[in-house]
């Protein structure tokens, strides 16, 4: 994979504090196409806060974040088009079925043949039997699969995931690892926080331990 001249994600001297508690201090990172960064560290080390800053859900106190050379603004349509996220603030429409969520996203992103992509992803995340179910009736694992499917059903340059292995069964984690590895090989940039060593090992090209030892 030939490197383009600008990194997909560039973070410079990022700082985030809640009151007197500094969560992230002077954090810099460059992520290029085809790279997968795994953030590891103990609970409360600041991984999720860092990821929330990277997608614009949290405003950093200092530092710069650029996505494909553009300054990060969460409401910018170009940023929204480039960055797919699966973090804990994802909500679902209570009256749309599983397949309709994916269909809506695929169409909103202007995919030329949305039905084919939706069917493929639905099969991949093993939610075909639940395709007509409303999100409120899904189990927590199925909701997680649906959340992951929303990230895979749309075009993306950067994928940001916060503990994507959560609530997935063993097969699910294995599927996720192979899927992310294949996405990485196809040129997707990935930043994920994870506590699952097998996932980190299979996907990450670099591992960053957040919050020290």
């Amino acid at each position: 994979m030939a490197k383009s001249r600008t990194p997909v994600l560039k973070v410079s001297h990022l700082k985030k504090a809640y009151g007197p508690h500094v969560i992230v201090d002077d954090f810099s990172l460059e992520v290029w196409a085809g790279e997968a960064i795994a953030l590891t560290g103990r609970n409360g080390a600041g991984k999720s806060t860092l990821l929330r800053c990277l997608i614009g859900a949290e405003m950093p106190d200092d530092g710069e974040i650029e996505v494909s050379g553009m300054p990060l603004r969460e409401s910018d349509p170009q940023i929204r088009q480039a960055v797919a996220t699966v973090i804990d603030d994802l909500d679902f429409f209570p009256d749309l079925s599983v397949v309709e969520h994916l269909d809506l996203l695929a169409r909103a992103h202007g995919l030329p043949d949305p039905d084919e992509v939706v069917d493929a992803i639905l099969g991949e995340v093993s939610l075909v039997p639940q395709s007509g179910q409303l999100p409120g009736t899904l189990s927590s694992g199925q909701r997680r699969r649906l959340a992951l499917a929303t990230a895979f059903v749309r075009p993306r340059q950067l994928l940001i995931l916060d503990e994507p292995e959560q609530r997935l069964d063993v097969d699910g984690v294995a599927w996720l690892a192979s899927r992310l590895a294949s996405e990485r090989d196809e040129g997707l940039a990935i930043v994920m926080a994870s506590h699952e060593p097998s996932l980190v090992k299979a996907v990450a090209t670099r591992t960053i331990r957040v919050g020290g030892e």
Partner: protein, 614 residues
């Protein structure tokens, strides 16, 4: 209660040091423990010989004792005592502390009472056919609608409920549920009866009835709704809902037909000569029927309270708890979210449909498909077309835009459900490759089309159709402007309502008699209503519709999503960071700015530690 705690040590003797012995039992001995019989003797013959196992005496006691029948009343008193013991304030003290708020509420009630009195005088003075028909039928509209809503609420909540804690701790115990729950049922019946009687009295007063008839309407409304709640309670004991659903539809149709008749007479579609108000006998008959239904079904429900399924009790209780939490935060939007989630959970499954279009159009097309799937969501907006006709028929022309906009606010909220979900958390909006204004535009297109149709359909009413002056008494251009502004006011109010954020507890607090409160907590209650008042206010005081049009445009711009609080805070923070960067790169700042910065820093570093808890 205390004397009943003494339980006979049936089974064996109480063993000393049971806890210590328990801790020494290895895992291999667990099977032996299971096979142990009361008396502390281990009869297991294999594998456990090497281990001396002593089963705690209390286990035998729990297995072997003949449980006594607990006294439900004592249990309730015990729970009440615990709750009181944990309360830090009594209601009287709270009201005393918040006397300013109480005084303000009393003032508002007095102002509303005065308005009702004046409106009653105006309505009573009108003796045209349309006024008489309106006066005759409007209370029936209210009765039908309130009966329908009572059944709906009873079906959703219970009406007999128990909290999750009660469900877990008490319902498992051998208590007689009927004895535990009867006061809940009576409380629910009393609350519904008195509350709805008050509403009935208010509506009868508004339509110009004399005091005696106001009392009769209040009795009919109160006893009727209490009777229906009793039916709901009786049905809850059987675990059925179809009777309530059927009744709900019947009363809904009655309300609509009454409203339609008012509109028809006002519009001149048909005539009802000879109508001279509802006979008091009919109203009293409704009240008497309410009493009979109340007595019969309360008796049935009380006898069968013990049969209510625990899940059904707790589900209603959970819903009430969620609603209470939202109510304490004065977050009506959250209350609705909880109800919608519950409704969808009950539905569970839909027949998926293929989407249409791409880009923002996909969102709009999905809204059309949603409306086809759930046509009930447009029901209030469609039915509200008759509201201006009915209000004008009552001779309350000045109030027609405001009342219609408020009804439209209620009507548009279900149609704007997707916008609500897309704005309440940023995660969903972030998934779409559009800006926030684009998302809002795409999701409000369908309701906006309905608003345009509504304005056209109500144009004759605002042009004077059905009033004593007749159609054309208001120029068509002015009527069109009023109808358009009213529809826009209702839609904008709906958008404001659904996009309301929950109270922000991290913001600076207001000091009130009730303690510290975030300002947004107080304003949350008025969200939506403020826009309806702002847009239709100039019409209420007789100003030109142009003022309303200008206000509506400003409101639409403000609600377009360009000025989200979060966005503005981000922009402010960005600007601050830029200023800081310039300062640091520009070397030493002026003495004033240096002193300012130093002062600011010292303020930032100041940490106020909370007082230690006792």
């Amino acid at each position: 209660m205390a004397n009943k705690k003494k339980r006979p040590p049936s089974g064996g003797q109480r063993q000393p040091n049971t806890t210590a012995q328990q801790q020494t039992v290895p895992i291999e001995a667990e099977e032996a423990l299971v096979n142990a019989t009361p008396g502390g003797v281990n009869n297991a013959d294999s594998g456990a010989d090497e281990v001396e196992v002593t089963v705690p005496a209390w286990r035998h006691a729990l297995i072997a004792i003949e449980p006594e029948q607990p006294d439900e009343r004592e249990l309730k008193d015990l729970i009440k005592a615990w709750r009181r013991g944990r309360a830090t304030k009594r209601i009287g003290q709270m009201l005393q502390d918040g006397y300013v708020t109480v005084f303000a509420v009393l003032m508002i009630v007095a102002i509303l009472g005065n308005s009702v009195y004046r409106a009653q005088g105006a309505a009573a003075g009108c003796d045209s056919t349309t006024c008489t028909v309106g006066r005759t039928l409007l209370p029936w509209v209210a009765i039908g609608a309130s009966f329908c809503l009572t059944l709906l609420a009873s079906r959703i909540f219970g009406p007999v409920v128990a909290s999750a804690a009660e469900g877990f701790w008490l319902m498992d115990a051998p208590i007689r549920r009927g004895r535990f729950l009867w006061s809940r049922l009576i409380g629910a019946l009393a609350a519904v009866g008195f509350g709805m009687a008050l509403v009935g009295a208010l509506l009868a007063a508004l339509t110009g009835y004399p005091w005696i008839q106001i009392l009769e309407w209040a009795a009919a409304m109160g006893l009727g709704t209490a009777g229906l709640t009793a039916i709901a309670a009786a049905e809850q004991t059987y675990g059925r809902t179809w009777i309530m659903k059927t009744l709900q539809w019947i009363f809904g149709v009655v309300a609509f037909l009454a409203l339609f008749t008012i509109t028809g007479v006002a519009a001149g579609w048909f005539d009802l000569e000879g109508v001279s108000g509802t006979s008091p006998r009919i109203v009293l008959t409704v009240a008497a029927a309410g009493v009979i239904v109340l007595v019969v079904f309360t008796t049935v429900a009380l006898r069968r309270l013990g049969y209510i399924h625990r899940a059904r009790l707790v589900a209603g209780g959970n819903l009430v708890t969620g609603m209470q939490g939202a109510a304490f935060a004065m977050d009506i939007g959250l209350m609705r979210d909880i109800l919608v989630e519950r409704d969808m959970l009950t539905l569970g499954h839909v027949k998926p449909t293929y989407g249409r279009g791409s880009g923002p159009k996909a969102l709009t097309w999905r809204e059309v498909q949603r409306l086809i799937r759930f046509p009930k969501r447009a029901l209030i907006v469609v039915v509200s077309i008759v509201v201006p006709y009915a209000v004008m028929a009552l001779g309350l022309a000045a109030f027609a835009p405001l009342i219609s906009a408020l009804v439209l606010l209620v009507g548009f909220v279900p149609m704007l459900g997707t916008l609500r979900v897309a704005t309440r958390t940023r995660g969903l909006a972030r998934m779409f490759p559009f800006s926030n204004p684009q998302i809002r535009w795409a999701l409000t297109t369908v309701p906006a089309i309905f608003a345009v149709i509504w304005a056209l359909a109500t144009l004759p009413a605002f042009a004077g159709l059905g009033t004593t002056e007749g159609f054309g008494s208001v120029p068509i251009s002015r009527a069109l402007a009023i109808a358009g502004v009213t529809a826009a006011g209702g839609l904008l109010a709906g958008i404001r309502w659904v996009t309301a954020k929950s109270a922000d507890y991290s913001s600076p607090m207001l000091q009130t008699g009730f303690g510290a409160m975030p300002p947004s907590l107080l304003f949350n209650l008025f969200r939506g209503f403020d826009i309806a008042f702002l847009v239709t206010g100039p019409l209420l005081i007789g100003l030109s519709p142009t003022f309303s049009v200008i206000i509506a445009i400003i409101c639409a711009f403000a609600l377009s999503g360009r000025f989200g609080k979060d966005e503005m805070e981000r922009a402010q923070a960005e600007a601050q960071k830029e200023r800081d960067r310039m300062k640091s790169s520009g070397g030493s700042a002026s003495p004033f700015s240096a002193a300012y910065s130093a002062g600011k820093k010292s303020t930032e570093k100041k940490v106020v530690t909370p007082p230690k808890r006792r």
